[in-house]
Subunit: 672 residues, 2 copies
């Protein structure tokens, strides 16, 4: 595990201290400390507004055309282009952050979800570290005149005697190799065994090698997303990820969403093409993983020379576990997805038997097994099931909300005893779609934001510290939450009248100007207007209404939720306080919010490493009740009630009330 | 079932009556009636010695150059070229068969093994007609808003509800077809289900078709012999053989016996070539079977138009069961056979999992299952196991000897409670090898024989009624038995001194002349000499010693055997009395001798039709104890004791003593 170095930053005159990772910019540190520094240009060193004074310690960078050599020598820096490399004290002059830049009188900690660490150790501790494919080495007595059993019979008996492995079944490839394998190293062989989920069923002898190769057992975990495909190469003996990589799903040129992919697949040869495209991506990623991987060298390996320095080859991969949404699963397996997009949304299958990887077109050895995550329905796929498994949600006592936000937000609610799930059509707002200046989280996207009370001057933080070009999902959330907290917009998302050049009447009603053209990376002002805010409210309302409907369908209240687990790219950047302020997420203790990253990939890896988890998956899927929200009569009412910031029923958002009150106090203090 | 017409033949003056099949020759009828007619030329109408007088009824043919028109008009016929087409009375003149042709004063019935009929009816009666692959049609409720289960889930539930079929597992091909299949005929589909032998394991959904196709379920049974490959196309619903065919095993150009095949397979690419050759033969035979087959049209088919007139296509074949000796099994599966020919004779495997037929190179649909008969050891193969299953030996109370004679004679002894087996190296004598004028049972081979007492004139019956060219296995047995019964040779197989031109001193000791050059189809006399007889005695001694050793190893006596089942081409022609006279087979009631024909093919067909039998096979193989005769200390003594006609211990051949006494009486009568 690599440890990331952290540094302590003290902001003066507020005397606010924050710890940030080395390499962070000063402006990011300020944002986390609750210090506002005017910065229209997104941290690109263009507007020159964010100058601060270095009082103690040293930093890197921070000079720009807007800063004279003299000022630089005096210790002034452009906060947005200054990198932190040691503990420092920084003074924020009044010009940069009015009134010393202190945004709030009593700034509470900003919350992001804690990262949920994948825990191999606890798998091992619980005795459920049991990869579906294992390697066993065995030394057999050679045949003699009074013991001329067949080679396979001798091996099966040996595995039974020495390892208590019964009910073994073998395939053609082992039969074809065994004679030579047994005799090459004096009847010392290594057998690759595929274990069934149900112990009553037979184990499969997948491969045989002469000599001892038990320390070479590798598998793959893959997540096939609609947009991207991620893969990991895993050491099945240790659980470690040897290499990881990802790439766009090549199907993307035939449509960005699942519906357009399905439509394409319905054309002649379309399904075959969709299948080949994604299989091609996976095959390329497998090659890349193998290329970038070297087997881990442990101490025991080193004392056991001969294997440790050998790179992993494709024929050492014995299994692959794949999680994907239902449409991606169908296209990957070349199953007709036609009815996924047509009511009543019937997929071909939600459960899948183990496949031969090579039958699916994967360039893996003929004995390699491909295990596909089961799905719940057409719109709650194997990716979500994988997330539920990977996050451990299905084992907790806490009433938990699992949420993966993309174009669709898939939600699962429950705990170890019960699980319900649904998909909400959130629309593309969280991916920047349908927003006047919305964009994906690419270079120049405003991803973080604060606003000076009174002056309404923005502090835009952009991806890659580039001049702002638009707003991505996480930025949108923070901007709208801030506008709402600061009282610029009301519960309906409409602007209150304010006398400030940054709030004006534009083409689509009132709008707030985030960046003037001269500070932007595009040739126009960057704004957010009432239509954008309305689109955002619709999206968050769909999700929140889905959550509340599900919770109430099982007879609970929204306030009974005790834990939230977030997955997906959006979840990692989400500001929890903002998410609760706008009523996207229900209010829970921010300490009880976890982020699992790519939940689908995590779950795939867990299954690659534990047959117990594979067994649990079956139970989880059987246990999980899927709701078609459009079929639940109360959903529409819930949706309408959620079309406010944060909600018509403020009693379920007590924390928001507190935050609004605090902001109002601060506003007053500022105006004194 | 076609019934064969039979006719009654009365031979005068002996007034001996025999029933023979229409189309038999008169000379064959005489042989079966125990009437001797001199016929040196093998029934080719050349020697002219076999003239007989037609007294009543009519026959076909029977004229030759040796017969004047006048004689023909008077009713004379050449017996060897006369075909029986009605009931007739025939007078044998003294010139043809001296003293009226009556060979024995009180001729007992000649015995051949009764044909064992394959009995589908009793399979059905016992409730064990249960093909491993069956077809089931099912009508499902279409999905709706409140029932949008996946297609596969719906089908599996339907099979469970309507047929009590649980634990189904499906493969890629069904997953890929099901959406369309369900919707093409309003959710009426036919599913091909592969049943496991062990009911606790899962059934496999192999294929799905839209509509009702339950009456189209076909399978294949194959026997891969070292020399020939036989196949049958079977209607799995009725058990009927729709078509049958056979051809040489194309491997034969690389060696006639298993050892030379193994040696070839050890060469680079040799195994692959052996595999491809036999797979090629099977693929050709499958095409031939399909071409020659039309599905059976039963009354119910006719009232159910639409399917019955459709020829069987390759994709309607759902399974193939193959039986073969251990070497042929290895070569077919492309398993290295190297150790089969080297002590301690270890095969790669004796048990085989179900394979995908297409993985073995068979041109069958991808869902078709290939089931391979298990073997006992390197020299007691799946062909023998199949014979034990097909003959029903493993279910009988009677202590039974199962014997398949070829270059190797494989023997199995036992009943429903126990089974022992061994392979005896009999050498090629029974196939005509190592015999001066030995030959395979091809055109011109002497296959039956009698000899007139006193004159020692032969009656040679040849394959195809051609002038004699040599002696095949069945002929050799009858000739030696006759020479022994008539006292021409003694118990050691040496000629007694006789004053007759047909017994003379040749290149290799004394010999008997079966045909003079002028009557033969070759340019020399055809003889049998003491070396030939010695070779034959060695071969029969190896077999009999094997049988006796096995019997005594289980604590029984040879006289405890109650039933004999013979398999293989040789068994169909064998004269049982002769076989016991020479001591090849132990003495049992000839009524208790059955012939099963190609036992291997029979067993393959049985397994194709009954999972119960497949299950029994596993138990039979586990139960069967294999003996390596060379490792049993008593075998050598048994062998030496068997090197006499019939055996040193005459007490175990009481019937032979009687036959010798009777022959001696007849000789005396003749000489009076």
């Amino acid at each position: 595990m690599k440890t990331i170095q952290k540094h302590k930053i003290t902001f003066l005159p507020a005397n606010r201290v924050v710890e940030v990772e080395a390499g962070s910019s000063l402006i990011q540190a300020a944002r986390w400390a609750g210090i506002h520094i005017n910065a229209s240009c997104g941290g690109a060193g263009v507007c020159g507004k964010c100058r601060v004074l270095l009082e103690e310690g040293s930093v890197e960078g921070g000079s720009s055309e807007k800063l004279s050599d003299e000022d630089y020598k005096s210790g002034y820096r452009q906060a947005c282009i200054t990198e932190i490399s040691s503990d420092v004290s920084i003074r924020v002059p009044e010009s940069s952050g009015t009134k010393g830049g202190v945004l709030e009188t009593d700034v509470p900690q900003r919350h992001r979800a804690r990262m949920h660490e994948f825990d191999i150790a606890s798998l091992k501790k619980e005795g459920i570290f049991s990869p579906p494919v294992e390697k066993v080495s065995i030394e057999l007595t050679p045949p003699g005149a009074h013991d001329n059993r067949a080679d396979i019979g001798r091996l099966i008996q040996g595995l039974s005697d020495q390892y208590g492995m019964h009910r073994m079944v073998t395939g053609l490839s082992v039969l074809r190799k065994i004679r030579r394998a047994l005799r090459e190293k004096d009847f010392l062989v290594t057998v690759t065994v595929g274990r069934p989920v149900n112990e009553k069923l037979k184990s499969h002898m997948l491969n045989i090698q002469s000599g001892k190769w038990t320390n070479r057992n590798f598998g793959l975990a893959f997540d096939i997303g609609t947009t991207t495909v991620y893969g990991q190469l895993i050491n099945l003996n240790t659980g470690e990820v040897v290499a990881g990589t990802g790439d766009y799903n090549a199907q993307i040129s035939y449509g960005e969403d699942v519906i357009s992919r399905i439509i394409y697949a319905e054309k002649p040869k379309g399904l075959e093409m969709m299948h080949n495209l994604v299989v091609g991506v996976i095959n390329t990623l497998i090659k890349k993983l193998l290329k970038s991987s070297r087997p881990p060298i442990s101490e025991s390996d080193l004392s056991n020379k001969g294997y440790c320095e050998i790179p992993i080859t494709w024929d050492e991969i014995n299994s692959i576990t794949i999680a994907a949404n239902t449409t991606m699963t169908h296209l990957f397996l070349e199953l007709e997805p036609d009815n996924i997009r047509r009511a009543p949304y019937v997929p071909v299958s939600t459960f899948f038997p183990p496949f031969r990887a090579s039958d699916l077109g994967l360039e893996l050895p003929s004995h390699a097994v491909a295990l596909m995550y089961p799905a719940i329905s057409s719109y709650v796929g194997g990716d979500i099931v994988a997330g539920v498994m990977g996050s451990g949600m299905y084992r907790t006592e806490l009433v938990t909300l699992y949420i993966d936000v993309g174009t669709n937000a898939e939600i699962v609610i429950g705990n170890k005893d019960w699980l319900v799930c649904a998909a909400c059509s959130a629309g593309p707002a969280f991916e920047g779609g349908g927003i006047t200046h919305g964009m994906r989280a690419a270079l120049g996207a405003i991803e973080d934001f604060s606003m000076e009370p009174g002056t309404l001057e923005p502090m835009n933080l952009t991806v890659g510290n580039k001049p702002p070009m638009g707003i991505c999902g996480s930025g949108l959330l923070i901007i709208i939450a801030t506008l709402f907290e600061r009282g610029l917009i009301n519960q309906d998302g409409k602007f209150n009248q304010v006398d400030n050049p940054r709030v004006r009447h534009g083409k689509s009603g009132f709008e707030y100007v985030l960046a003037w053209e001269e500070d932007a990376g595009v040739d126009h002002d960057i704004i957010i207007n009432e239509v954008d805010i309305d689109n955002f409210i619709r999206a968050k309302a769909a999700i929140f209404a889905g959550i509340k409907t599900l919770v109430e369908e099982v007879g609970l209240q929204i306030t009974d939720l005790e834990q939230i687990i977030m997955a997906g790219a959006f979840g990692s950047y989400i500001d929890l306080d903002c998410a609760m302020t706008v009523g996207l997420l229900p209010e829970v203790d921010p300490e009880k919010v976890l982020y699992v990253g790519n939940g689908s990939l995590l779950g795939a890896r867990m299954s690659e490493l534990s047959n117990h988890i594979r067994k649990d998956v079956v139970n989880v899927v059987r246990k999980m009740t899927s709701f078609e929200l459009s079929e639940v009569s109360s959903f529409k009412d819930q949706y309408v009630a959620s079309m406010f910031l944060p909600h018509t029923d403020m009693s379920i958002f007590p924390g928001v009330g507190e935050r609004l009150a605090r902001a109002s106090l601060q506003e007053e203090a500022y105006n004194e």
